[in-house]
Amino acid sequence: MTLNPNAKMEETQNGTEVYGFDPLIVKSHYEIDYIHSYAQDSEFFVALGHKKIMGSKCKKCGYVYGTPRGHCMMCGAETEWHQLPNEGKVHSYTTCYFGSEEFLPETPFHLIMVEFEGVNSLFMARLIGADAEDIYIGMPVKAKFRRNQRFLPTDVYFVPSEEALKAVDNSKNGKK
């Protein structure tokens, strides 16, 4: 049995960073590692290592998605994996000069929505290899893949395709 009226909490050297005293504002730190499962979407991330972008196709109504989804939003039926083309066109674009803290060091960067022939919906990605003022809606782009995979959607990114370059050459030569 222990009943000790002189018990004392151990003192430590861990202080607290204080930003201000009126009101009292202190630094509070937090970080965490998740054990994150990609679950039914896993195939998409694995396939990027084989230079394939996998979308989905509804087995029942045939709707083709530019993204993985296990079930069709149009009819509720199960979908199957469907390989997307590695070439597409810019459906819309922006250049981010600011961003979330995690991506601030990467600014400025370009975001695009890609449209693919024969696919009913879009795909969001980064575009590199073009200045902000050279990107346009309809610009032909092609997919490139990181060799060292991080199992993130940025394992695929887009660059202007040779066709985009030809279009620039043609317009310089006065052809359309």
Partner: protein, 420 residues
């Protein structure tokens, strides 16, 4: 949708001044201030309140779960019924509608809807990161999660489809910041020109700093009541005539290219070549408007509404929303602002308060703030609450409030009507 419930009225409201950071008060104290303002304005006491709905978006900003019960506790509303409602940027609008449902269902005779957000505990760029976690964290967030980036792509596509210009976007900023000059609750009242907006730092092209709303600390409170109770409390309640809620896919990429769900004032031939919604328009906003208009018996929104408080987190989304709400046809949003129709003295004043762009956007409070400002307009008590009557519309009968989440994932529309 049947909407067969009891009539629901708003009887009082309160808002704290929104600001970038007010570290001297926590979220509980802020709600308390807005709540006491609302109670006092209607001559109510705690005993008059049957229950509540708590409205706040992010647990991350304060790393506190169950903030709702902490407010319920602080206000002295325990052990009365309460629940939290959350849906991104539309949290306030959804909570307001949940309060409506508590009354309409007959469960409660009075319900307080309180909303708040404390965004100043992290820096702006961390805040942007938290907000971006409200995009798909498998597919969208890692690509460069940044809401202004997503909205910039939508704005760009709107410009491509319809010829909307950056100057037209800028005019929304000029209008809303200008209106806020007379709103003592607003965070960033400013007298601006189109070139001020275009010359401010580019955030994600075509959107500049002045095309985008700010983060805020703030709270807002709406007290709702049944018909019998409402007229006991006040001679000037405001009827919530109808509500509507729409949804859309989490990923912007998954939006379909189909047909426009038509409002009574539109016909199929208006949109022969338009693939809808794609990423240029908000199908959830259109669905919400359609449901609310049907419930309220509105067939010609431009002529049957006297004011609109809508979710202008971006200037572009205000223009897109004119179209979703049927104030003009799809594609006419740009000329709508050019013609001055949404100006304070225009055909239908939009965001006479200054909107999110100028009032600020403490997420969970925002949709309720819109309800409070519309309520004061319809009660014609702006002078009493603002200390000046510059923003009081002459004789508004019917107002619309619109709250909006994500890239247009949840959108609410509620129609409010003056009873005298």
């Amino acid at each position: 949708m049947k909407h067969n419930g009891r009539n629901v009225y708003m009887v009082s409201g309160g808002v704290t001044k929104f600001a970038k950071a007010i570290p001297k008060m926590d979220f509980r104290m802020r709600v308390k201030k807005a709540f006491d303002y609302a109670l006092n304005d209607a001559g109510l006491t705690l005993n008059d309140i049957d229950g509540s709905v708590a409205s706040y978006f992010a647990d991350h900003f304060q790393r506190q779960l169950m903030s709702g019960i902490m407010v319920q506790d602080y206000l002295g509303l325990t052990p009365k019924p309460s629940k939290r409602v959350e849906g991104g940027g539309a949290t306030g609008g959804l909570a307001f509608q949940t309060g409506y449902e508590e009354i309409a269902s007959g469960r409660m005779d009075t319900c307080v809807v309180y909303g708040f957000e404390n965004m100043s505990h992290v820096n702006t760029w961390k805040g942007n990161e938290f907000i971006a976690l409200a995009s798909d964290t498998n597919f969208d967030y890692p690509v460069g999660g940044f809401y202004t980036g997503y909205y910039a792509m939508m704005a760009r596509r709107h410009m491509h489809e319809f010829g909307t210009t950056v100057e037209q976007l800028a005019k929304v900023s000029v209008k809303n910041h200008g209106n806020a000059l007379h709103n003592p609750y607003a965070q960033s009242p400013m007298k601006l020109t189109v070139s001020d907006v275009r010359n401010s730092p580019m955030v994600a092209n075509p959107l500049t700093r002045l095309d985008v709303c700010a983060m805020s600390d703030g709270a807002a409170v709406a007290i709702l009541a049944s018909e019998e109770k409402a007229f006991e409390i006040t001679d000037h309640p405001v009827l919530i005539k109808g509500i509507g809620t729409g949804t859309d896919t989490m990923r912007l990429a998954d939006r379909p290219f189909g047909k426009v769900p038509l409002l009574p004032n539109e016909k199929e031939s208006d949109y022969k070549k338009l693939e809808y919604p794609g990423i240029h328009s908000f199908r959830a906003g259109r669905s919400a408007a359609k449901e609310a208009y049907e419930a309220a018996g509105i067939t010609d929104p431009l002529n049957e509404l006297d004011l609109v408080e809508l979710h202008d987190a971006y200037t572009s989304s205000e223009i897109q929303t004119y179209e979703d709400l049927g104030l003009c046809k799809y594609g006419e949003g740009g000329s709508f602002i050019d013609e001055g129709k949404p100006a304070l003295n225009g055909k239908i004043p939009v965001n006479p308060s200054g909107g999110l762009l100028a009032c600020g956007h403490p997420v969970g409070a925002t949709g309720i703030m819109q309800g409070v400002f519309a309520f004061w307009q319809l009660q014609r008590t702006i002078k009493k609450h603002f200390g000046n009557d510059k923003l009081q519309l002459p004789n508004p009968k019917r107002g619309l409030i619109h709250s909006h989440a994500g890239t247009g994932t949840y959108v609410t529309v509620s129609i409010m009507e003056a009873v005298k």
